[in-house]
């Protein structure tokens, strides 16, 4: 891979909770190349959303603490950069976001037009740089408003919203779930970002709608050369849309591989178990014994060791560093498995 667009190195994030400090991210590494669709796969509570939010810089300020690591975007460490500059140039412009739930992400009381134009006022690619913190007294220049509105209508056509000019005057509740997610995709594309962070964007949708949205999203980002970080807990969805897949377990990334190699040669014991637990047509069902560990007192070393068949003393003492198995296929495990998928579970 050439120079990555975004590179996360050794990111540690803690959350202060009632039960103690939860070590939610434990030295996570992640690279996203230009124009690449990367799937971030893991079970609920594994830190997918926290990682996505850390990249965007929107972790809850009271509860979350970044203990170490860096998030490099175009060579700049976002965690240490001037927050005003990051807000002005990166968040919502260079990196945009598609939320999981299209039902609660719009304000119910304003027409869609107001909400999209509010976004464009600050985050349009035509807006100037370096204006400092946004102020409610700043005008929206009329020239730019017209140009931005044209861009909005074009993008709504691109996401296949029928009659975009009329659609803009409607309120969010007049759109179905699939349509709202199309609007969200349009809003993520409008600032012409380099990277879109999509946080489980199809989880709330039916399969037929999901298939339409995945196809649309993949076509649009490939056309425009935008990178995507696509978090999901559904391996099938990841297979549909991603070029490369990164698996997380309990706040540690365990395996990263190109999609084809990921499904044909999974090497980490957790990845193999996860793939084996997908229901098969012949009705065989295999689960992963044990439960996901508490993040307040996580197991030392590799956090999967209490549930792992291959665990040894070194797994319990130190976390394995990522090792390359094949081109672009990294595994963080002392005992990676070579056998074909499913043969050990």
């Amino acid at each position: 891979m050439s120079e990555p667009l975004l590179s996360v190195r050794g990111l540690h994030v803690d959350f202060v909770t009632d039960r103690g400090v939860a070590l939610v991210l434990d030295g996570v590494n992640l690279d996203i190349g230009p124009g690449e669709v990367v799937g971030l796969v893991g079970e609920s509570g594994c830190g997918k959303t926290t990682l996505a939010r850390a990249i965007l810089g929107i972790l809850p300020p009271g509860a979350a603490r970044i203990r170490g690591g860096e998030v490099r975007y175009r060579g700049q460490d976002l965690l240490r950069a001037d927050p005003i500059a990051v807000n002005d140039r990166v968040r919502g412009r260079g990196i945009t976001f598609i939320p999981q739930d299209p039902f609660t992400s719009f304000s119910p009381v304003f027409p869609v037009q107001t909400q999209i134009m509010d976004l464009m006022k600050w985050k349009s690619p035509r807006a100037g740089n370096g204006d400092g913190a946004p102020s409610p007294f700043r005008r929206y220049p009329r020239e730019r408003y017209r140009a931005d509105r044209e861009a909005v209508l074009d993008t709504l056509r691109a996401v296949q919203i029928p009659e975009p000019a009329r659609a803009l005057r409607r309120l969010p509740h007049e759109f179905s779930g699939g349509q709202r997610q199309r609007l969200m995709i349009a809003m993520a594309l409008l600032p012409r970002p380099d990277l879109i962070i999509a946080d489980e964007p199809t989880t709330a949708l039916d399969v037929t709608i999901q298939a339409q949205i995945l196809r649309l999203l993949r076509t649009l980002v490939k056309e425009r050369g935008v990178s995507v970080l696509f978090t999901t807990h559904d391996l099938g969805t990841a297979h549909e849309i991603c070029d490369r897949i990164v698996v997380m377990y309990a706040g540690q990334e365990v395996e990263a591989a190109p999609t084809a190699a990921f499904f044909s040669h999974p090497a980490h014991p957790y990845t193999r178990r996860l793939l084996a637990s997908v229901p098969t047509p012949d009705g065989e069902i295999r689960d992963i014994p044990g439960e996901v560990p508490s993040l307040v007192e996580p197991p030392a070393g590799c956090r999967f060791h209490p549930r792992c068949d291959y665990a040894s003393a070194e797994c319990r003492s130190a976390r394995p560093a990522p090792r390359m198995r094949a081109a672009a296929h990294a595994v963080s495990c002392y005992h990676p498995v070579d056998a074909p998928p499913g043969s050990d579970a």
Binding site: E43, S44, S176, G178, Q179, D206, V207, T208, I209, Q210, A211, Q212, L214, R215, R218, H233, D234, L235, G236, T237, H239, E240, I241, F263, S264, R273, L274, L275, S277, V278, P279, T280, P281, G283, E284, I285, R286, D287, I288, E291
Partner: protein, 323 residues
């Protein structure tokens, strides 16, 4: 049909359930036709899968079948007896044989009751067992769902989500029901958790000789769990029959699209070829004739004029003029 010819445990005949739609003054303006003439039979000991997208009426069908909603029209035969129009006192006696499992059975536990209290309650209401007999019954069920006796003295918040789910199931099983309706029991779960929940359902079915109606929108789960399936679209069954026949060779265009939309790991990306456009129409304004015609690639004039009836075809029943 290819099902065994023994007497069905549950038989639904032309079941209809409408909900009134009211305007701001409380006057009825229209009917929402949630379930509109559905006939199904469930054989003892089997797992019948009920598939469809959200809003197609699958939950309403399940709830009407076991008496949570009263049917607008149609018959419900349970173990040889019509139960849809029984007087309340007699209806209550049937209730213990029919249980409904919501998406998260753990969420229906009272947070201020100890587990032991929650598990005894159904037995107090429906049986005349003494306290020690109840305790024996509860202990047996608790070990069947894989929980230690020590959990009886805990409050729901002291258990993990998975354990709460097991307690919720135990609570349903204390009455030893014969038919259990599982309504989206695995949606929102991770695949590994889903696998353990499905395993649990299978084990319980064997131990307690249960009959399941498995409602889900997830076709891979339905395929793994059920021998026969029924596909619903806007309040109607469009295809019904043997699982293998339907999954190998779906005949209704809606079933075909539904199966084509499911990502298949390792194969070609299915979304590249996915052709179905649009979204299901508003159930308040159902299209005339065949309800699927507004999205159907095969639609002709006859589809708007005439509603296709379910007809026998290759080991399943299909409602389509062109299947």
């Amino acid at each position: 049909m290819s099902a065994p010819s023994s007497a069905p445990l549950l038989e639904i005949v032309d079941l209809v359930r409408y909900f009134p739609l009211r305007n701001a003054f409380g006057r009825r303006t229209a009917w929402l036709r949630a379930v509109d003439g559905v006939s199904l039979s469930v054989q003892p000991g089997e797992t019948l899968g009920l598939v469809g997208e959200s809003g197609c009426g699958k939950s309403t069908l399940g709830k009407t079948a076991i008496g949570i909603y009263t049917p607008t029209a149609g018959d419900i035969w349970f173990a040889g007896r019509e139960i849809g129009r029984l007087p309340p006192r007699e209806r209550r006696r049937v209730a213990r044989d029919l249980q409904y499992v919501y998406q998260d059975p753990g969420a229906s536990l009272d947070p201020r009751w100890k587990i032991v209290h929650s598990l005894h309650e159904p037995l107090k209401i429906h049986t005349r067992l003494s306290r020690t007999e109840r305790a024996r019954e509860v202990g047996a069920i608790l070990s069947a769902v894989g929980l230690p006796d020590a959990h009886l003295d805990l409050y729901p918040h002291e258990l993990s989500g998975g354990q709460q789910r097991r307690v919720g199931l135990a609570r349903i099983l204390t009455l030893r029901p014969r038919l259990v309706i599982l309504d989206e029991p695995t949606s929102g779960l991770d695949v590994s958790v889903q696998a353990s929940v499905l395993k649990l359902f299978r084990g319980l079915q064997e131990t307690f000789a249960l009959t399941y109606v498995f409602i889900s929108h997830d076709l891979s789960v339905i395929r793994a769990m059920c021998a026969r399936i029924a596909v619903m679209y806007l309040g109607k069954i469009v295809e019904h029959g043997d699982k293998t026949a339907i999954f190998e060779e779906p005949r209704h265009p809606y079933t075909q699209s539904l199966l084509a939309a499911v990502p298949r790991i390792g194969g070609r990306r299915v979304t590249l070829d996915f052709a179905l456009q649009g979204e299901p129409p508003d159930p308040r304004a159902v299209p005339s004739g065949c309800r699927f015609r507004t999205r159907c690639p095969l639609a002709q004039d006859v589809c708007a004029a005439e509603e296709p009836a379910l007809r026998e075809l290759d080991g399943r029943r299909v409602a389509c003029h062109f299947a």
